[in-house]
């Protein structure tokens, strides 16, 4: 099993304050690190869930892989090829192997184009001429279970579920190897979110796709991912096989996340609150282990020393001085 995607020490910074303002306000560090020292791997045919809350950097990470945000340092290898540092024109070719599904299905479709126009656009962009575009458009619609009547529709005429399917169809046009999905079930009712997830599952079987799914929805990701990576304030705090991460979380944050999910059973109410406080601002990162400000198990060492990733049995990794496992 080869590594389809290998990310090493990735760092993505954003400038928060303009040049002049920084001078005027005497801001010493006008940057924030949205993604800090992230290393992870994705194998072919695998689904990796990237989980975190606001400010965790998970969406930024996904966008960095597709080249939509500039990378400060680190490396991203796709099938052995380094993506960091590529020029925009070189990246364009790579984008054929990468598909991206965006969070808002209707907003991610250009409002003035018909579904047919949207589906054949990837072929135009990459100048693929020797295909029957109409046939391709129909084929793609068929794969996602929409009938030909939708070819003439506009994005705003579609329901959320239909728009998502069109989004999936679009990413499949150029037969990518890896699809990054940003909150694939956001805005979908519980009774229909299975449709898109089952479709993604089916496509994985059929086409040997790999997925990187970015989400904060734990109950969903538990079912659809093989491995999980938990992010907090731009860092990876834990990763490992989904089953074991859920069953026995190693990092206190993971445990808090799992405990925070309300269970649809009135006999399983929780009376105590696992996690107090709010996520610290990216501008003022806590010292040492950045989670120590909210961690119930925090000790002196955690406040001063940042933990390094430690390997745990079962293909797991955690960034904590006192892992729970």
């Amino acid at each position: 099993m080869t590594d389809l995607l290998a990310i090493q020490g990735l760092r993505v910074r954003f400038r928060t304050v303009g040049f002049v303002r920084a001078l005027v306000d005497r801001v010493t560090d006008p940057y924030i690190d949205a993604v800090l020292d992230v290393s992870l791997m994705l194998r072919e045919g695998e689904t990796l869930g990237l989980v975190g809350e606001s400010g965790s950097g998970k969406t930024t990470l996904a966008r960095a892989v597709v080249g939509l945000v500039p990378v400060h340092s680190g490396s991203i290898h796709l099938n052995g090829r380094e993506l960091v540092g590529l020029r925009e024109s070189e990246y364009r070719g790579i984008r054929r192997s990468l598909g991206m599904m965006f969070q808002d299905p209707v907003a991610s479709l250009s409002p003035r184009k018909t579904v047919r126009g949207l589906l054949i656009e990837p072929f135009h962009i990459h100048r693929i001429r020797d295909v029957d575009l109409d046939k391709e458009a129909r084929r793609l619609l068929g794969i996602v279970g929409l009938h030909d009547g939708f070819l003439a529709a506009y994005a705003h005429q579609l329901s959320g579920g239909q728009a998502r399917r069109v989004g999936v169809a679009r990413t499949l046009a150029l037969k990518p190897k890896l699809i990054l999905a940003d909150e694939p079930t956001a805005g979908l009712d519980v009774s229909v979110q299975g449709e898109i997830l089952n479709l993604m599952n089916e496509l994985q079987r059929q086409f040997g796709l790999s997925y990187l799914i970015v989400t904060h929805n734990l109950p969903v990701i538990r079912h659809v991912s093989d491995r999980l990576a938990i992010m907090y304030l731009g860092r990876l705090v834990e990763q490992g096989p989904t089953r074991s991460v859920f069953a026995r979380p190693a990092h206190p944050y993971t445990q808090a996340l799992v405990a925070a999910v309300p269970q649809p059973d009135p006999d399983k109410r929780r009376d105590h609150l696992e996690l107090q406080g709010e996520i610290p601002s990216l501008r003022r990162r806590p010292s040492g282990c950045e989670f120590h400000t909210r961690c119930v198990h925090a000790q002196q060492r955690c406040k001063v020393e940042a933990p390094l990733p430690t390997a745990l049995p079962g293909g797991r990794e955690v960034r904590c001085h006192f892992p729970l496992v």
Binding site: S110, I125, R170, E202
Partner: protein
């Protein structure tokens, strides 16, 4: 195959013809909109068919029949040189429409291109263009007009240049703002993720979404341009005689107002009607396009 559980969608997508029908239905329901449409249509038709509609040659002078009241022969009377006022008004309409369409068209084009460049391009380009826009806008239009007229001598071409230079920053600003806000929307990101380059993004995606409100704005600008031309002509800065524009007819009429009121009426009334007509139509179009007005 699991993908066969298709959510058909309650109403299904609306075919393109149906959308147009809904739009025109809404437009026609607004009485002012219909009135505007009629007036604009009349203007356009009279401009196209001026040769057929005019009764006399607008340049033909007949000094012995000067300043006559409306009659069977001269529907709006004659001016100080004996020329048929009605025919001059008709040809004036053609000129008004032509000038405004060219001026607005060029401004639109210029504003669109520069605005998209400013919004989508690098920061320094944006800053430079905005600086230029603001500089031009802060310059008093009348003085600019005076300067241009002095430099280039009065003519329709000069008027067009004046209007285009003064209007491009206005459209440019609007397009820039729209482009800036659209740059970060999900669908633009999605296009970039697919590999689309900046040209495709700008022309295939940003432009179609920006042009709608811009066109409606432009259509409301047409009467403004016509009025500006009239104003400049009235001030003597506009076209040289004997070209028949509504503004020059007004100006001449003003000089001879003690002899006959008809020249002023002939020059002024078309201006008023045109402005009203385009305004009503533009407002009605704007309302008809707005999908959020959930009226039946």
């Amino acid at each position: 195959m699991t993908a066969q559980t298709v959510s058909g969608g309650a109403a299904g997508p609306l075919p393109k013809q149906r959308a147009w029908l809904v739009l025109s239905h809404r437009l026609l329901k607004d009485p002012l909109g219909v009135l505007g449409l009629v007036i604009v249509a009349l203007l356009v038709l009279s401009a196209i068919f001026a040769d057929l509609l005019a009764t006399h040659d607008p340049f033909q002078m007949a000094p012995r029949q000067r300043l006559q009241d409306p009659s069977a022969a001269h529907w709006l009377g004659t001016d100080q040189l004996g020329r048929d006022v009605y025919s001059r008004v008709i040809y004036g309409g053609r000129i008004a429409l032509w000038v405004s369409l060219v001026a607005v068209g060029l401004s639109l084009l210029g504003g669109l291109v520069l605005g998209m460049l400013a919004g989508y391009g690098p920061r320094w380009l944006d800053n430079t263009l905005v600086l230029i826009f603001d500089a031009v806008r802060s310059f008093p239009t009348i003085m600019f007009a005076l300067a241009m007229v002095t430099l280039l001598s009065p003519s329709l071409g000069t008027i067009i240049i004046i209007i285009v230079v003064a209007s491009i920053p206005v459209y440019g600003r609007i397009v820039r703002i729209q482009t800036l806000s659209m740059k970060e929307t999900e669908f633009i990101l999605a296009e970039r993720a697919l590999g689309a380059g900046p040209i495709r993004v700008l022309f295939s995606h940003i432009l179609p979404n920006v042009i709608g409100p811009l066109l409606i704005l432009a259509s409301m600008e047409i009467p403004v341009v016509i009025t500006i031309e009239a104003g400049l002509s009235f001030l003597g800065l506009g076209v040289r005689p004997p070209t028949p524009t509504w503004g020059s007819i007004l100006q001449e009429g003003y000089q001879y107002i003690r002899d006959t009121p008809w020249l002023v009426i002939a020059g002024g009334l078309p201006l008023i009607l045109t402005t009203l007509g385009f305004t009503f139509l533009g407002e009605a179009l704007r309302d008809a396009f707005d999908p959020k007005l959930n009226r039946p």
